[in-house]
């Protein structure tokens, strides 16, 4: 008779210990874009709500931006590199499929031999990765996990296509997830899902350029996704009135505001990071949280609802407590 293999545990809680972010230095304004394609500052502001975005240069990559954001989160957490047992990089814009980004990022941060893998759930990637990180901590597979969302969307944009080049941008955001007593659990259950029958709504045209059916994506996000967000609140036992902030993926300001209106949380601060950061896919949520935190908008203990959504179609939501 075989004996059972050991169950890790006892199962405790998990919490985010720190956030970090990085944006490339190069600012691209709407007027800059208007010199290249037929568009205008007024048109871009009214359609997508973006005023300026950051675009990486040739010296920067998904990995290099992830290293800077991850390094900031690690430093802010007070942990040593070797306290990290697992590195997860959420990205869908890495230039080379092999090797993955996570192992390189870990090595550059001086983290010796952690588990390291990438997650591609497009713009929902950070929520997926954070859910996996918390599960790894709670399940005993890792003491601490570094989660990074890093994207260089500019590599996949047709800069002569005015319907996409005004939206997408580059950047990275990171979080360190560590153990907590169960009664101080600070990462709520992740609610995730997909809709693969609508895979053709966002894809790489000619295997090269990001393309999306704007109207279909707008209808999906503004009519269906508030239910995912509300489900995440319910599963965390958080009433909408208790929310400090709502930080959805920064896809388009009109999508952000349309979903926010359906939450029934008028007191909650709504992340509008897209105005100055553009759409940075999996990086947008941690980037927004880190920047809001940097401005003092998210005091320690704040309850934040995140909601990622994008190509796949994929989506995920969860409640986080701010460290």
């Amino acid at each position: 008779m075989s004996t059972a293999l050991p169950v890790p545990g006892p199962l405790g809680g998990a919490r985010v210990l720190a956030f970090g972010e990085h944006q490339p230095a190069n600012v691209v304004t709407n007027d800059d874009l208007a010199q290249r394609v037929a568009t205008s500052d007024e048109w871009i502001r009214s359609r997508v709500g973006i005023e300026e975005r950051r675009i990486a240069d040739d010296t920067e990559s998904v990995e290099s931006m992830a290293v800077i954001a991850g390094g900031k989160a690690l430093a802010a957490s007070g942990l040593a590199p070797d306290d990290i047992d697992l590195v997860i990089v959420a990205t869908c814009t890495q230039r080379d499929q092999i090797p993955n980004a996570a192992a390189t990022v870990a090595a550059r941060l001086g983290i010796s031999a952690p588990g390291a893998f990438d997650v591609n759930a497009a713009c929902a990637g950070f929520c997926y990765a954070t859910g996996l990180a918390a599960d790894a901590v709670r399940g005993g597979s890792a003491r601490n996990v570094l989660v990074v969302g890093s994207e260089k969307l500019s590599d996949w944009v047709d800069w002569d296509d005015r319907s996409t080049c005004v939206i997408f941008a580059d950047g990275a955001g990171a979080a360190v997830v560590g153990a907590a007593p169960a009664e101080e659990n600070g990462v709520g259950p992740v609610v995730w899902g997909s809709s693969g029958e609508r895979a053709d709504k966002i894809y790489l045209r000619e295997n090269r350029y990001l393309y999306q059916e704007g109207q279909a994506v707008f209808r999906w996000t503004t009519t269906e996704l508030h239910r995912v967000a509300l489900q995440a609140l319910e599963r965390s036992g958080v009433d909408p009135s208790e929310l400090t902030a709502f930080v959805p993926h920064q896809a388009n300001l009109r999508i952000v505001e349309a979903i926010a209106r359906k939450l029934g949380a008028p007191q909650a601060l709504i992340a509008r990071d897209i105005v100055s950061a553009g759409n940075t896919s999996s990086a947008s949520i941690p980037l927004a949280i880190a920047r809001m935190g940097g401005r003092g908008e998210l005091p320690s203990g704040s309850t934040v609802l995140t909601l990622g959504f994008g190509a796949g179609l994929t989506y995920a939501a969860q409640v986080l407590r701010i460290p």
């Binding site: 009214s46 359609r47 704007g214 109207q215 707008f218 209808r219 503004t222 009109r254």
Partner: protein, 82 residues
């Protein structure tokens, strides 16, 4: 779902367009083009279609939406779906 008259649909669309795009309902007349006359963009058209579906129970899919240029086009589409 009760049948709506053309006048009821027009009045309903006027309210919807006012709420979503801030265009006074009185300006929403059958001959007006959403894009050219009322200055409504493609994303607002989706919002209007969703609101019209809630109000009149007639679904307007995205691939049909692009062919509905004028207020009269939308009225006809909603009436035909009944």
């Amino acid at each position: 779902m009760a049948q709506h008259t053309e006048q009821e649909i027009l009045a309903g669309l006027g309210e919807i367009v006012d709420e979503i795009a801030g265009v006074p309902a009185a300006e929403v007349t059958p001959d007006k083009s959403f894009v050219d006359d009322l200055d409504i963009d493609s994303l607002s058209m989706v919002e209007i279609a969703v609101a019209a579906q809630d109000k009149f129970g007639a679904e307007i899919p995205d691939d049909q939406l692009k062919d509905l240029k004028t207020v009269q086009d939308v009225i006809n589409f909603i009436q035909k779906q009944k």
